[in-house]
């Protein structure tokens, strides 16, 4: 029910990450309609780690666990500073196009699309763990997110 792998801290790892999620969904008979959302949340969280923690350990660990009607995913990043993704500023999606700038949408989307998002940080080990859950019963954008906290 569980699968874990570590990936190089590089955008080039995305293809292998998506292969992992596709294989995991197939192996556990999970609803493939959830897959694009799981991939999106994983990409946004993983690429944030790549962009904002370039001096972190070379590998980032991704663990997937089949949950009831869905999946729980944990990304563990090593030798990094504290950055709580659940507290990142909201993007203003109502700005006119002249004032819109690329960026800031990633975490905004993750928070709207997943059922829950949790961030934990160990300052002793300089290790972050970011966990999200996506299920068929989970909310869509109009629902309310369950924030599990730190």
């Amino acid at each position: 029910m569980k699968s874990a792998r570590s990936f190089r801290r590089s955008f080039d790892s995305l293809e292998d990450i998506f292969a992992l999620t596709a294989d995991f969904f197939a192996a556990h008979g999970l609803d493939r309609e959830l897959l694009p959302t799981v991939d999106l949340a994983l990409e946004e969280l993983f690429t944030n780690m790549v962009k904002y923690s370039p001096a972190g350990a070379p590998l980032i660990r991704i663990e997937m666990t089949a949950a009831q009607d869905g999946v729980e995913v944990t990304l563990t990043d090593y030798d990094v500073d504290h950055f709580d993704v659940t507290q990142a500023p909201e993007a203003d999606i109502n700005l006119p196009i002249e004032e819109r700038k690329p960026g800031k949408l990633g975490l905004h989307l993750v928070r709207r699309l997943v059922d829950s998002l949790q961030y934990e940080y160990s300052s002793d080990r300089r290790e972050s763990r970011t966990t999200f859950r996506k299920t068929r019963a989970g909310r869509t954008a109009s629902g309310s997110m369950v924030k599990l906290g730190e």
Binding site: F11, D12, L14, E15, F18, E33, P36, T37, D39, L40, E43, E44, T47, I93, N94, L95, P96, I97, E98, R100, K101, P102, G103, L105, G106, H108, L109, R112, L113, T140, A141
Partner: protein, 97 residues
């Protein structure tokens, strides 16, 4: 993988996955288009915020010159992503039939 080509009707046809790793290639393609451009999204399976950034950058450039990017054949999943991003306010979006 991502593929972009011109369709028989002159629309830009995009298919596959527009993730962060594919954005440089997508941006290079979009930088060559001008005027009002129809983007056929029927084959677009996935887009992330990095891909949205490419669409936004293209839309800003085209609208500044009097053109625009129209998105057609947009799947339900992509409609949700565009809605949550506020892109429904800055793009003309036609759902897939």
């Amino acid at each position: 993988m991502l593929a972009m080509n011109y369709g028989a009707d002159g629309a830009v046809v995009i298919s596959g996955r527009l993730d962060a790793a594919q954005c440089p290639a997508a941006l290079a393609f979009f930088e060559k288009v001008d005027g009002t451009v129809t983007l056929d999204c029927r084959g677009l399976e996935y887009i992330s915020s990095a891909g949205l950034g490419v669409l936004l950058k293209t839309q800003k450039r085209l609208t500044a010159a009097g053109g625009k990017l129209r998105l057609v054949g947009v799947s339900r999943h992509l409609q949700d992503i565009f809605l949550y991003s506020g892109f429904d306010q800055i793009f003309e979006i036609e759902p897939a039939r």
